[in-house]
Symmetry: C2
Subunit: 411 residues, 2 copies
């Protein structure tokens, strides 16, 4: 086992995010198993090769009355009994926290091949109960208790803050919704691929598109999703062996070129107070994005061919646009108007459909973003391929901009 700072991504598997595992009468463990066995088959890796596993999950304790989630990995295949496992959580950024933990162990030389599973089964409960569970990603007592849908409300406030500082028009949020739904139609694993949505519908202010929290309406929201995504991370040594076996050069295997990770204060009001004199509304999110680029040796967003960002609501994608540096602070609307975010645009965002279009099984989202970046940079994204993508970047956010993690994946 060789210590080294390179971490490679060998691929993985995403379950169909349109499925409802509760309706199928299937336990959390079945969801885990499908993602793991699917990844082994897709990547042509024998189960005996896996040395360790990390699970990203937000709140199976609430949704499924089950903790100790890492241990369920050992149930996915008989040869896994005894493997080191652990579960990692940072609300909606849980999947990325698991990737950070796994990649650190590879960089430290502890293991050469690791599985990372992001997973969440959310359709076990009614939407209002689920909304309350999601409230535990915020400061529950102070921001969520007694609020019907805490997170739409908090991300509505993000929109309000943009409106106050720079002005914000509903039509730009509606365009963001429209684009994510459109892209999702190209993604065979997207939850909404057969749903109906266009800009007019996203803009409508009637009961067809009801308000759920502040300025956030249904069309602005990501989905409640059951899903799991397993990816494999490897040391340079293992990646070399793997590339040879697949008839590839090491340079063709995507590498995590950079990462960023920051945590702002918990309450949204505290974040906004802290950033009052900053040109960015969420400066710690901006730091995370820049750290990942810097570690990757990339100067700015012009070196990034596609972005998979955290659009839990249209306002979070609106925030991501200027925080990535696609526009100046407060001018995200320009990128929308100019069509830069389309798959064939200057700065494609969420070719997969993102959380709004592809779905948002909370603990799985960070790993789903990484896998979709893998597909982009290996030219295997099918109908949602960004032509010639070599470097892609993720942004995964937990809470109201609280924990942020970003990866640059490239070949």
């Amino acid at each position: 086992m060789a210590a080294g700072s390179d971490v490679y991504v060998l691929g993985g598997y995403q379950t169909d995010f349109a499925r409802n595992w509760t309706k199928e009468n299937k336990h959390f463990s079945a969801l885990m198993r499908e993602s793991v066995l699917g990844a082994l088959e897709t990547c042509d890796i024998a189960p005996e090769e896996i040395e360790s596993a990390h699970v990203g999950n937000f709140a199976a304790e609430l949704y499924c009355m089950q903790g100790h989630l890492g241990a369920f990995f050992t149930e996915a295949h008989p040869s896994f009994s005894g493997l080191p496992t652990g579960r990692h959580e940072a609300a909606c950024a849980s999947g990325s926290i698991a990737v950070l933990a796994a990649s650190a162990e590879i960089e430290a030389g502890r293991y050469d091949l690791q599985a990372v599973v992001g997973i969440e089964q959310m359709k076990t409960v009614a939407p209002d109960v689920g909304g309350s569970y999601l409230g535990t990603a915020a400061w529950y007592e102070q921001e969520a208790e007694g609020v019907d849908f805490p997170f739409p409300t908090l991300f509505g406030k993000l929109g309000d803050e943009y409106d106050k500082r720079y002005g914000l028009k509903d039509e730009h949020l509606a365009e963001i919704s429209r684009l994510n739904y459109d892209n999702a139609k190209l993604n065979p694993n997207a939850q909404t691929r057969s749903w109906y949505m266009n800009k007019e519908h996203a803009l409508c202010r009637t009961d067809d598109n009801p308000a759920v929290g502040g300025r956030i309406r249904i069309a602005d929201c990501s989905q409640v999703t059951d899903g799991a995504v397993c990816v494999f991370l490897a040391s340079r040594e293992y990646a070399e062996k793997y590339a040879k076996g697949m008839g590839l050069k090491l340079e063709q295997i995507p590498r995590i070129k950079g990462w960023g990770h920051n945590t702002a204060r918990m309450r949204f009001a505290d974040k906004v107070a802290e950033s009052a004199n900053d040109e960015y509304v969420l400066p710690h999110v901006r730091s995370t994005i820049l750290s990942a680029m810097k570690r990757a040796g990339i100067d700015d967003v012009n070196g990034i061919d596609a972005i998979e960002t955290h659009d839990c609501f249209t306002t979070s994608e609106y925030m991501a646009i200027d925080h990535f540096g696609i526009t100046k602070p407060g001018e995200s609307w320009k990128a929308v108007d100019e069509g830069w975010l389309e798959i064939d645009g200057k700065h494609p965002i969420n070719p997969s459909g993102g959380l709004i279009g592809a779905g948002h099984p909370v603990g799985a989202t960070g790993t789903r973003q990484l896998l979709d970046c893998y597909k982009q940079v290996t030219g295997t994204a099918g109908d949602f391929q960004v032509d010639g993508a070599k470097n892609c970047q993720t942004l995964n956010i937990g809470g109201s901009g609280t924990t942020s993690v970003s990866f640059v994946l490239g070949v």
Copy 2:
């Protein structure tokens, strides 16, 4: 920031495990804050020095209706806003999983000084509700649903398995209980330090010592505890600087010399079926202990001066005795009879009082064990000091022997 494989422990702080934070009307965040600020003061470290934080917690979602636990670290001091944080979980081994994640990041050269907080607030609910929450550390649907106290029942079965394979007498379990309570009287942070317990009481088979699950009686159980423990981990580079500032030599700062980490199958019945032809009842726990010793360059338990082990029940400590190699498999009773486990014995176990005597705030236990080993090897354990201890080892277990983690800490 220099990459390197040495991880040093600079000390830390444990809250008084006898306190009931719910009765004090205090939120989870207050428990976190006391442990962190206490550790900074104890170790004479400025808050601005901390670069990253890891939180070990089992199930605050259930006990406190709160997730996103890593982010609460940023609330402990104004200078922490923006620091990278994450939460790590493996049931009762959560604290050790957080230490593993933090130490990997130091080994990888990502950070030079990290805080690890193990934390659990459990006295928010009635004992039967809490017992059901603990059941989520097992396979809930299959092992815990509808069972009054799932974990006493499962660890009762561990006793049954010993009984079947090798014979097991209640008096040896009672002695283990007596010893942990006795040691706890020497520990100013132990939950039971003023409680009454002796061997006769632990042996009694009346309503004074009621059965809670199978052969497990109240005196065999660890406690329901509110508590948090913060420890600081550092790179060699930082430890050198720190030692100099404290007027110490680097060699006087304890180092994590070795670690082990394994995960067995989830259900207890599957574990026992797997080990049917093995001389150890829980062979993956044995592997964890041996891996930690091997990495530390220590041949066997004779190189370990004291052990802090996972006595969630007397049967788990009984199991630990032979699995550490203090006796041959099945002969743990000999170590009890010979007095080897006493603080001044040949193989002291749980000088702190362990989970039975010191208390068991689930997510904090792994960090509490590490901190108590730190106290031993720096000669600062006060009344529960093991004379001349240089190398100490932990064993932290999640579930019914499912996830196990062990550290060797030494100078």
